[in-house]
Symmetry: C2
Subunit: 209 residues, 2 copies
DNA sequence: TAGATTGTTAATCGATTAACAATC
DNA sequence: TAGATTGTTAATCGATTAACAATC
């Protein structure tokens, strides 16, 4: 029976990395069942099967899913099999953390250069990478055909940086600034807002506060 | 007409911080309409009204909502009106970034101490705060009645840290490690997984990759 | 007053969960 | 074979969107 990858729902896509993380820890194991994955990740096994279906990998009744094939299929589905090269704008607290996080390699992401506007930061070396002035971003992005950008600058500066990036040919933006960016329609943006997660925790915790 | 705060859906709660951010920028303005907020945040105005309804603040037809009252109500709803004191475990890349982020004050969060197990990190001062050995967390948490913990350690260490925290009386955990934590049922956990956001971006970007 | 905007009730949409046949 | 597990179809649940009366 041929594998047929499908389009996944957004919540499903969000869960794929946690499957990948678990599967990679199962080094050496041949097969894994949806019930096992579900118990480890505290999910419903039906949901796990639905999610895994988007990879196109078929499981065998009573046996489970082939671990290796699942890993490769999820990586391929996410495009994490060959790393995307990205530019990082903003080398402050958060930017430095992103720059220093070596786990991105496992997520198909390679930050190849960092930029900032602050003269105190420009020229510094963070985690082996020199921080360049933001003015150099457009030229380098064009020359190196970089298509992904990460925005870790302050809210007021974010739109300007997004404009620089899109004009330089960047077509995907991972945005950590708490603002809604205005971009050309062929550019995709993913907003990452720590505050929204903390809001959920705050409300959950409000019971006993 | 009396205000009546309601329970909000999870997606609504996640959007509240972005409303708060926008409202705070509207310093001096008396009233704001749901259509204005919606256009700025690229949301549906009906959705904005539904979300704002959970604060209990009533708007006036043709006028809009009182800005100041909205800010205070959202802060109160999230419990951000008086800062929660939290302990941070893990002072590596991400932990340092969290420790250095001064914006948490506006989110009702105050990280009052940081802990790590790595002897190279323990004793260091990061952003004016000394990093203590993780073994000291339980005693200090109990003594200071700290009820919130932030986990920024590696995946393999996360469960052990969660155990330390819950045994010391911490009742809310903001978890940045990519694992599902096992905690007593009166403890609330909010998982924050950067990888899931990046997965969404990757799939969106896959169109042109 | 006329028109813009709120707030509520109803309809739609999408994701999760349930049921169950297929199968190893 | 019997039983565990997959994968699909149907039912449920919840959030978003639409419709519209109320009102300033």
């Amino acid at each position: 029976m041929p594998n047929r990858p499908r389009v996944g729902s957004l919540p499903s896509v969000r869960r794929l990395p946690s499957y990948l993380h678990l599967l990679r820890e199962l080094d050496g194991v041949e097969s894994v069942s949806s019930t096992y994955i579900a118990s480890k990740l505290r999910l419903d096994s039906i949901q796990v099967r639905k999610d895994l279906a988007i990879t196109g990998v078929l499981g065998k009744p009573k046996v489970g899913y082939p671990v290796k094939a699942l890993i490769l299929s999820i990586e391929a589905y996410l495009g994490w099999d060959n790393a995307a090269e990205a530019f990082l704008a903003g080398a402050g607290n958060l930017g430095s953390a992103l720059l220093g996080y070596d786990g991105f390699a496992r997520h198909g992401l390679s930050i190849i250069a960092a930029f900032d506007a602050n003269p105190d930061i420009v020229g510094r070396t963070i985690n082996g990478k020199q921080v360049l002035h933001i003015d150099r971003l457009p030229g380098l992005a064009k020359r190196m055909h970089v298509r992904m950008g990460i925005i870790a600058v302050t809210a007021p500066a974010a739109q300007r940086v997004a404009d620089l990036m899109t004009q330089a040919g960047i077509r995907a933006i991972w945005n950590f600034a708490p603002v809604s960016l205005s971009v050309p329609e062929d550019v995709v943006v993913q907003d990452e807002d720590l505050a929204s997660g903390f809001a959920v925790l705050s409300v959950k915790a409000a019971k006993w506060r």
